[in-house]
């Protein structure tokens, strides 16, 4: 069917026809007849049969949430995580401010300062999850793969602030020790075989 047919608002032409609807009963007897007709049509037993059949088969798809959880895809964008460097376990974030800049719901804020070793340091970092639309731009723009999305979608709490603490987002050190930090594989992440595709600067020495 072409779009024109839908856009044509003139119902008198084209394929329009009236649905045959029985008149509503007006008296008590008429209403009673309708109830009996609807109740004993046999459709009730179709539903009962389906339930009975599945019960006998023992092939149940229901997940016992929250005891059981579905695995979620690597590109799922839930609460942000802050990654650490594999080499030194220090934070990857360099405080460049690009996530803050790109954020379309303007929910990321950071304070930076110069630290004792004359490096740029993030002194405070917050994400207002009340505003966040989980678009993933911050993870995409991050030059250090520091801010990523994680799989933790359970953000029901009496306070949203529980999920925006920098310490909370940062990979715990024992996870690093266990070598268990998971890299984000969503948009903006390094693709496989990236090393082979890098064009090298000619350093002839």
């Amino acid at each position: 069917m072409k779009m024109e047919a839908f856009n044509n608002r003139n119902v008198t032409e084209g394929d329009y026809y009236l649905v045959d609807i029985e008149d509503y009963p007006t008296d008590g007897w008429g209403k009673f007849k309708r109830v009996v007709k609807r109740s004993f049509r046999g459709e009730l037993f179709v539903g009962l049969w389906v339930v009975l059949r599945e019960m006998i088969r023992f092939d149940i798809h229901t997940i016992q949430y929250p005891q059981e959880k579905m695995p979620i895809g690597p590109r799922y964008r839930a609460i942000h995580e802050m990654k650490r460097l594999w080499e030194s376990d220090t934070e990857r974030c360099i405080g460049c401010g690009l996530c803050e800049k790109i954020c379309i719901s303007d929910c990321i804020r950071m304070d930076t300062r110069i630290d004792e070793e004359s490096r740029k340091e993030v002194s405070e970092y917050t994400i207002n999850l009340g505003r966040c639309i989980f678009c993933g731009y911050c993870a995409e723009v991050c030059p250090e793969l520091a801010i990523t999305h994680g799989g933790n979608y359970e953000n029901a709490s009496d306070q949203r602030e529980h999920f925006v603490d920098y310490e909370y987002m940062l990979t715990p050190l024992d996870t690093m020790k266990a070598n268990a930090q998971k890299e984000f594989e969503g948009f903006g992440a390094i693709t496989p075989h990236e090393d082979e595709r890098v064009k090298k600067t000619p350093l002839s020495y």
Binding site: I94, G95, C96, G97, L98, E100, K101, R109, M110, D111, T112, R113, I114, S118, R119, K120, E121, E124, T126, P143, E144, K199, T201, P202, L203, S204, Y205
Partner: protein
């Protein structure tokens, strides 16, 4: 030979004035030629070679930044070869440039970043062995040689515009760096102009470093509130932190292509005040004003506030005390009585164009850096002959002044008379003036002022071929006993010679206040309300106020600069308390906002009826100053008569000179956490011997009926028996002459 050259750029007919370069003409005509090292206010650095163009009939490329066009030539600014040349230059700039844009403060406003993207440099075909380069910490300024692209803008500005000549290029091919000139570490006036012009993140303010990104800051165009030069600047603000959403100023920037800023303007921006509204304090202030006999105030206020005070005087019958502006006003009145004009004739721009300058009565480098930078520009670009007459030599002016004329403290009237005598020698003057000049006892004046005849002759000779001459009179003169006659002598010189006259107002709005307020002599009576000054009840934007007021970066208003230009100030930071207009309204004046007075400033004084919101505050792309408006020239009666020169006073023994160290001007700069507060009494070895004090001694200085305790610092750069006594920490009194006989005692 005609002065106008006609030629073509990219097929477009253009004309050049004599002396203009191809690049200047192209920019005037909106033709784009990329540059990396060019900066309009200095001579071309010619280090980047990005501005190459092709000229028809000339083999090879031509540097447009330092080549003047010839008649009828055809210039091509862009073709494939030029594009390739420029792209290769960009690639060379990018060799080993650290890829740390993520943390670099310059990211987002970086010339290298912009041009690299403009020329689409995605790969690198060149390489060089990288070197270990240490980041230098020079106090307020940090230098990272790894980021430096050696454009040499900083050295050119430091030498040609500022005059510090403190940094230099250490040549060494790929290992070239910027180093402090003839010193281990940077020893300069810390104007920070090198930070401003640096196209990359190599020179960075150490206070600002890593605190914010360029794109996060809001820009508030305003005018510097520290001295009368009225430099344009932009306050850049952002919320203080995540936890404190109130804005604070992160840094100050200026339009460095055309204007300069001193270190006080650039770093001492944190003089704002904070307060909450307190009805109780407000009522007390209203009551105090109602019962006051006088209001004492400083000149660090806006024209609108001055006007309000003037209206309050009319309404309440209070006296207005402001010695600084009163003395300036009486100096200007004497000047006007001879010149027949209300305002002095020269501007800083005129000073930049000058080729002969005489400066009298000002330690210019610290009194008004804007004047100093104009002098440096004149000296470097026009080879100006600059005579610097002052009782104390100033090492900061050494490279700029061509002749130092040392006179005895207090003998300014004599020096002015001798100067007038010399300059008016062969000039046709009226009878009265001729009689005055003939009557001068030259021998006495020369002996007492200690300036010889030959010094004036040498000066006059060096001015022989000068076209644009400026006489600069400084703030030493305003409180001189014979100030009126000095002003008249200045006016005579202006009237009969080619010299235009520049008078340096002592504070940011001394000029405006002196015009707008009818001031009374400060009688030191009781029951005075002080506005930013001492009094029985103090309303102030400084500490220790009975009612807090907004500082000049927290209110709208205008000030009058040294150029007689009415300049707008804008609100960079919020202020929650009351302002002077609220008090005035409680006392019966009726205006909702202070700036409603802007259009009401007296037209008879040269102000015009422009509304505050109609005042522009920017420089055009060609560097034309479109800020505020210039005061109209006002003619007045010229019935003044030169008085006979009085006996020149003698200043013997230990003399102190009220003069601030660099970067410090007043109580507001004193509030800044960023700049150094040097409150020492600085004197030469000769002074220390005369006063019998040594370096590091705590001394008690008695002058003018006052006693101050200071630490004495031996300054090897000073000479003579006069020591420098800072005034920014509020010890001096504007009513007294800046040279003072003093008694100095060592505190044991």
């Amino acid at each position: 030979m005609s002065k106008i050259i006609q030629f073509k750029i990219d097929g477009k007919d253009v004309t050049a004035q004599k002396g203009e370069t191809i690049l200047q003409v192209a920019r005037k005509n909106d033709i784009y030629i990329p540059t990396m090292c060019y900066i309009s206010k200095t001579s071309p650095c010619a280090s980047c070679r990005m501005c190459v163009v092709e000229a028809e009939g000339v083999e090879g490329f031509v540097l447009s930044c330092n080549t003047p066009p010839t008649e009828g030539i055809n210039i091509t600014t862009n073709n494939q070869e030029l594009e390739l040349e420029r792209t290769n230059i960009m690639k060379l700039y990018d060799v080993n440039h650290p890829l740390e844009c993520g943390v670099c403060d310059k990211s987002g406003e970086c010339d290298l970043q912009n041009k690299t993207l403009e020329f689409n440099v995605a790969q690198q075909n060149f390489s060089a062995r990288d070197q270990a380069r240490k980041i230098e910490d020079w106090g307020l300024i940090n230098y990272d040689p790894a980021l430096c692209i050696m454009c040499e803008k900083c050295t050119h500005v430091c030498n040609e515009v500022i005059g510090d000549d403190a940094i230099d290029v250490k040549f060494g091919g790929y290992g070239s760096t910027i180093i402090p000139k003839n010193a281990e570490t940077l020893d300069c006036t810390f104007c920070g102009e090198c930070i401003a012009v640096c196209p990359v993140g190599a020179l960075i303010s150490s206070d600002f470093k890593y605190t914010a990104n360029a794109w996060e800051l809001s820009r508030v165009p305003s005018t510097c509130a520290h001295c009368s030069a009225g430099c344009s600047l932009e306050y850049e603000t952002k919320n203080t932190s995540i936890d404190n959403r109130v804005d604070s100023i992160y840094r100050v920037k200026n339009n460095f292509e055309f204007t300069s800023l001193c270190g006080a303007g650039r770093f001492a921006f944190d003089f704002n005040n904070s307060a909450q509204k307190s009805q109780e304090d407000f009522n007390k202030a209203v009551e105090a004003l109602q019962n006051a006999d006088a209001i004492r105030f400083s000149s660090i206020i806006t024209n609108e506030e001055a006007h309000i005070l003037h209206l309050l005087k009319e309404k309440l019958g209070v006296k207005l005390f402001n010695e600084d502006a009163r003395l300036y006003a009486s100096f200007m009145k004497a000047y006007s009585s001879v010149s027949g004009k209300l305002h002095h004739s020269a501007t800083l721009d005129a000073l930049k164009q000058a080729d002969a300058v005489v400066v009298i009565g000002s330690r210019v480098a610290t009194d008004n850096p804007g004047v100093r930078y104009a002098l440096t520009t004149a000296s470097r670009h026009n080879g100006a002959k600059i005579v610097y007459a002052h009782p104390m030599e100033d090492t900061l002016m050494q490279n700029t002044a061509t002749q130092f004329m040392k006179y005895e403290a207090g003998s300014e009237e004599g020096v002015m008379a001798l100067l007038a005598n010399e300059l008016l020698k062969d000039v046709d003057v009226d009878e009265q003036t001729r009689a005055f000049l003939d009557n001068l006892d030259l021998g006495y004046l020369e002996a007492e002022s200690n300036v010889g005849d030959e010094e004036f002759t040498a000066m006059h000779k060096s001015f022989a071929r000068a076209q644009n001459k400026v006489l600069v009179l400084g703030s030493d003169l305003f409180a001189h006993d014979r100030a009126q006659n000095i002003a008249k002598l200045g006016a005579i010189i202006e009237k009969y010679t080619e010299f235009s006259l520049l008078i340096i107002p002592s504070e940011v709005n001394t000029l405006g206040v002196s015009l707008l307020c009818d001031l009374d002599i400060d009688e030191n009576i009781g029951n005075v309300v002080g506005y930013n000054t001492p009094g029985e009840f103090i309303i102030s934007s400084l500490d220790d106020a009975d009612l807090a007021m907004p500082a000049l970066n927290q209110q709208e208003g205008t000030v009058v600069s040294i150029d007689n230009r009415v300049l707008p100030l804008n609100v960079a930071l919020p202020f929650d308390g009351y302002n002077l207009n609220d008090l005035a309204n409680a006392l019966g004046l009726e205006k909702q906002y202070t700036i409603e007075y802007t259009a009401e400033l007296d037209k008879k004084l040269g102000f015009n009826a422009t509304e505050f919101d109609a005042l522009e505050n920017f420089l055009s792309t060609q560097g034309e100053d479109i800020r505020g408006y210039l005061l109209d020239e006002v003619a007045c009666e010229s019935d003044g008569i030169l008085e006979e020169i009085a006996d020149l006073p003698e200043f013997n023994g230990t003399v102190i000179y009220n003069s601030n160290p660099v970067l410090q001007f007043n109580a507001f700069t004193n509030r800044s956490e960023h700049i150094e507060r040097d409150t020492t009494l600085r004197g030469s070895a000769q002074f220390s011997a005369a006063a019998r004090i040594a370096d590091g001694d705590t001394v008690e200085i008695s002058f003018d009926g006052k006693t101050v305790q200071r630490v004495f610092k031996l300054d090897p750069e000073l000479k003579g028996t006069i020591a420098l006594n800072p005034t920014f920490d509020d010890v001096a009194d504007a009513s007294s002459y800046k040279f003072l006989k003093s008694k100095i005692m060592r505190v044991v």
